[in-house]
Amino acid sequence: MNKRSVLIGLGIIVAVVIPFLPLLLWSVSDQWFYPALLPQQFGLRGWQYIMTTAGQQITEGLVQSTSLALVTTCCSLLVALPAARALGLYSFPGKKLIGLFLLLPIIVPPLCVSMGYHLWFIRIGLAETFAGVVMAHLTFCLPYTIFVLWGVFTDYNPDFEYQARSLGASPIQVLINVTLPMILPGICIAALFSFLLSWSQYLSTLIIGGGRLLTLPILLFALMDSGDRPVAAAVSLVFVIPALFALVANAHFLGRQGMTGVR
C-alpha cells in the first residue's frame, strides 16, 4: 500500500465520519450558544426527552417504521424473485421492453405517482392505512429489488437444480436446499436495500398516510420544524442506529461482496 492510497483511505474515513460529529455533540448538549466551539454545558436533556416525555411516540415511530419496512421488503422479495429469475436466466421476446417497464419506477420520483393515486386511495379506503402506505412504498421498492436480483440471477446456474431433481428431490426440497442457499447473499442485499428505501421514505408516507402513520422520518421532520436541536439530533441518531446495526450484521456475512447496488 503506497502513500497515496493511505491518504485516500484516510480521506474516505474522515469524510464519512464528520457528519456524525454535529449529531453526537448536539445530542449531548444542554447549553451551546454561538460562538462556543464546544457545548457550554453537556447533558442528556435531549436523550431524556425522547426516552421519557416523547418516549411513547418515538417507540411507536420505531415500531411503525420497522413494520412498514419489513412488510414492504417481504412483499418485494416474494414478487421480485420470480420476475428476476425470468429476466436473469431466460431469453424471450419482449424482454427489453418488460425489463424497462419493471425498472421505470426507479427513475420516476415517488412524489409524482403518490399524488396521482392519492385521490383513488381515499375513495377505496386505502388512504391513511398501513396497507395503503405499504402499497405506496412497494411501487418503488419492488423495482429496486428486481434490479438487484436480476443481477444475481445472471450469475446463477440452474443446472444444479436439474441435478437435484434427477437425484429425486422434490421441487420444494430443491428450492430450500439448492436455490435459496445459492442466492442467499443476493437476497440479503436486496432485502437490506428495500428495507432502507422504505425506512427512509418521507414524502409518499406523508401523502398516503396523511399524518396518521407516524413513522420516524415524519416525527423527525416535525421536530426540525420545532427547532429543538438536541432532541432532533438524538432522534436522528436513533433513526440511523438500526440501519447501521443491520450493516454490521451483514458486513460479516456478505464479506467482500459488500452492498453493491444498494443506495
Binding site: 474515513i13 460529529l21 454535529p22 414478487v79 420470480p82 427513475i107 393515486y117 450493516l247
Partner: protein, 304 residues
Amino acid sequence: MFSPVAEDETRTRTIETGHLLLLLTPALLIILVLFGGGLLLGTLQALSSQPFTEKNALTFAHFTAVLADPDFATSFALTLYIATVSTLVAVIASVVVAISLVRCSAGNRVLNFFLQIPLTVPHLVIAISLLLLLAPTGILSRLCSFLGISKGAASFPLLVNDPYAIGILLTYIWKEIPFITFMILAVLKNSGNELNEVGRTLRANSWQRFRHITLPLIAPSLGAAGFIVFAFTFGAFEVPYLLGRTYPMVLPVWAYKNYTDIDLMARPEGIAIGLIIAAIATCSLLLSQGLMQLARRQREYPGE
C-alpha cells in the same frame, strides 16, 4: 439498455410461455396497477378542469398555467443545476475512489465498511447533520471564528439556504458516492488486472490505460448508476426542502407546495408539475439510451 447487467447476446436459455407468464405476472401486475395507475390517474386529474366536482371537462389549462409561469424556468434551471452538478461530482469522485480501492486491496475490508455507512444513512438525517454543521451558527462557523478566520455568524459565508445550493449538493455527493462506487467496484473486481498488465507491457501510460481499458469496462454500470442518481436528485423532496431557499424552489418542492395548498384548484397544478418531472426523467432516460446505442454503433462500425 437500462438493466443491471451488460447485454448478453449469447444467453439462449428458453422457457415455456406459460411458466414465463407465471414468473412475471405478479410483478407486472403490481407495477402496472400502482405505477401505471398512479400516473394515469394523475394525468386525468391534471387534465380535468374541476377535478373535485361533477361538471368536468378535459383541459390543458393546468399544464399551460405551470409552463407559462415565469417561476417554472427558474425552478427548472435550479433543479437541473442541482441534479447535474451533484451527479457529475459524485461520478468523478466515485471513479477515483473505486480505482484506488481496487489498487490497495490491503485495507479493503475496513474501507469497504466505512464506505457502506452512507448507504444506510437516510437523506433526511444527513441533511439535518449538514444543517448543524454548515449553518451560519453551525459548527464550521464556530470553528472559523475560534481560529479567527471569520468574525461571527454574519461574516460566515452562506452554505445552507444559499443561492448556489452548496448544502444540498454536499448532501447528495456524500450520499451518492458510495452508491456509484460499489456499482463500478463490482465490475472492476470481476475484470481482474490482466488487461491493465497487457496495457502496461504495450507501454500505455496510466492515463492511456484508464482511457482505453478501465473507462470502457466501467462505462455501462457507471452510466446506469449516474443516471439513477441524476433521476433521483431531480425528483427528490426532503433535502432541498430542508436546505434550500424559499425562492426559487426546486420542482418537487414546488409540486408538493401546490398539491397541499389550501386552494383546491392549485392541486391539479401540483400534479401537473409532478407529471412534468416524470416526463423529464423518462425522456432523459430514452435520450441517454439512444446516445449509448449510437456510441456503440460508432465503436463497432467506425466511419459509417
